[in-house]
């Protein structure tokens, strides 16, 4: 066989081996990079705005608040009432061209946000279709993150739930004897976030257990047992919550 035959075979095996997990990983990466881009842009737009109207800037350090107020921004006068400020400012009186740049910057951040939402929607759609059980337990984005960290859903399916529970912790090098960290990706699920701090660790463990079960179901039997899983999961979390309360 010559070089061309090898190339043809190799091209064919690449073509056949793509899986939906590859797209999932790229989408998660795009989501994270977009968040970074959004933050960088926000910082720069905010800084220019602060120069112009520091009294307002001091009240708008939080990004969501800034974006909310800046939707209707055209000059100091346009937002002063919303913030209980006077138009009198020690800030630099920017030219209207500079103010235009602030406004365009705000628009770009809004675009970035709706772009991110569209990525998230697509991730949820894919996960819901391909991995319905896991979707029900973890939601689309968290499932996608786990796939991205592990490499594939198959790798997750053979992982013990104790490992799934800690995937995504800053440093995945676990040293013998050291207490394992509890704050992985699983910790960010709605269910874990919704319980009191004293039962978060326990809840994360329960969620990881069900996640592991759901992943195995999605990979091996491919049945949709999501209703059953969700019911049992919620029951168990409820019980953990109850116990947690009586502990205090």
């Amino acid at each position: 066989m010559n070089n061309e035959d090898f190339i043809n075979r190799a091209r064919k095996s690449v073509k056949e081996r793509w899986t939906v997990d590859t797209i999932i990983k790229k989408l998660i990466e795009m989501l994270d990079q977009s968040s970074k881009a959004e933050n960088i842009l926000f910082k720069a737009v905010y800084d220019l705005f602060f120069l112009y109207y520091p009294e307002a800037g001091a009240k708008l350090e939080e990004k969501d608040k800034f974006m909310e107020i800046m939707e209707g921004f055209s000059n100091r006068n346009s937002i002063k009432d919303n913030l209980d400020l006077s138009e009198d400012s020690m800030g630099y009186d920017l030219d209207k061209e500079d103010i235009e740049i602030i406004k365009n910057g705000v628009k770009e951040i809004m675009n970035m946000r709706s772009f991110k939402e569209s990525i998230e929607r697509r991730i949820n759609e894919i996960i819901k279709e391909k991995y319905p059980n896991t979707y029900t337990v973890l939601g689309g984005v968290i499932t996608a993150r786990l796939i991205s960290i592990a490499g594939s859903i198959q790798k997750l399916a053979i992982m013990p739930s104790s490992k799934i529970q800690i995937l995504g912790t800053e440093n995945t090098v676990f040293l013998r004897g050291k207490k394992t960290p509890k704050y992985g990706v699983i910790f960010k699920t709605k269910l874990v976030q919704s319980v009191d701090d004293n039962v978060k660790g326990k809840t994360a463990k329960i969620v990881a257990g069900y996640a592991s079960l759901a992943i195995k179901t999605d990979v091996f039997s491919k049945e949709d047992k999501s209703k059953d899983l969700l019911r049992k999961l919620e029951e168990e979390v409820k019980r953990a919550r109850g116990n947690g309360k009586s502990d205090r």
Binding site: N3, F6, I7, R9, A10, V14
Partner: protein, 223 residues
């Protein structure tokens, strides 16, 4: 600029006080991964960067891998996008062959595109631990190079040497100390790999690639 031969098609270029490792560019005018190209007396030399390639680091550390020669056949395990493969391609030249094995389709795409422009690269997108499945299309080679960064990298190397290395052939394996065991000391891991390899091959040399590559060594053997 003066040149000084290292092994076939591989030269140091002396640029003032610094020297730069290069291979003669088989594919004139084209840089593969952003490396610089030097033109001297009508010949093109492609920079071979030690932080990007363990084989280049080996040469920077003073070892001449002269069992890599023009015209030989090489089985390359863990080819990735083909950074190092492209230089081995320059070394073995148009009469040589490199069977370049890579498991990941994502990086494999780039490797295939490289093979489309360099006729001596034969890409195989497959698990290096299961190459017995590819016996019909492979042959015994003069040299086996492995850089897979896997826990069982030494076993994979030995298995493939048994299957595909000519008697009297040579091999080199890049050992990433951390892939085998994150807890053990890198030096112990290298020592253990050396010991396992020495039961099967004669060891030519083992080279610590620091500071070009951290926690990496390369071990050269003869079959």
């Amino acid at each position: 600029m003066e040149t000084e031969r290292v092994i076939d098609n591989t030269y140091w270029i002396n640029r003032g006080s610094r020297r730069v490792l290069t291979t003669i560019n088989m594919q004139t005018g084209k840089s593969v991964y952003g490396e610089r190209i030097f033109k001297i007396n009508g010949k093109e030399y492609r920079e071979w960067i030690p932080s990007r390639s363990k084989l280049a680091a080996t040469i920077y550390k003073g070892f001449k891998p002269d069992s890599l020669k023009e015209g030989i056949s090489v089985l390359y395990l863990g080819a990735s996008t083909g950074t190092t493969v492209s230089h081995v391609s320059d070394i073995v030249g148009k009469n040589g062959k490199i069977y370049a094995v890579e498991i990941s389709e994502e990086v494999g795409v780039k490797l295939i595109l490289l093979a489309e422009t360099r006729k001596n690269i034969y890409p195989i997108i497959y698990d290096a631990a299961k190459l017995e499945d590819k016996r019909e299309i492979l042959e015994r080679c003069d040299f086996i190079y492995e850089d897979v960064a896997q826990r069982n990298q030494v076993e994979i190397f030995i298995k493939n040497a048994n299957l595909f290395l000519k008697r009297g052939g040579y091999g080199a394996i890049a050992i990433k100390a951390k892939s085998i065991d994150v807890l053990a000391k890198p030096r112990d891991i290298i020592e253990k790999a050396r010991e396992t390899l020495s039961k099967r091959f004669s060891i030519i040399k083992s080279i610590d690639l620091y500071p070009f590559q951290k926690d990496h060594s390369i071990i050269f053997v003869k079959n």
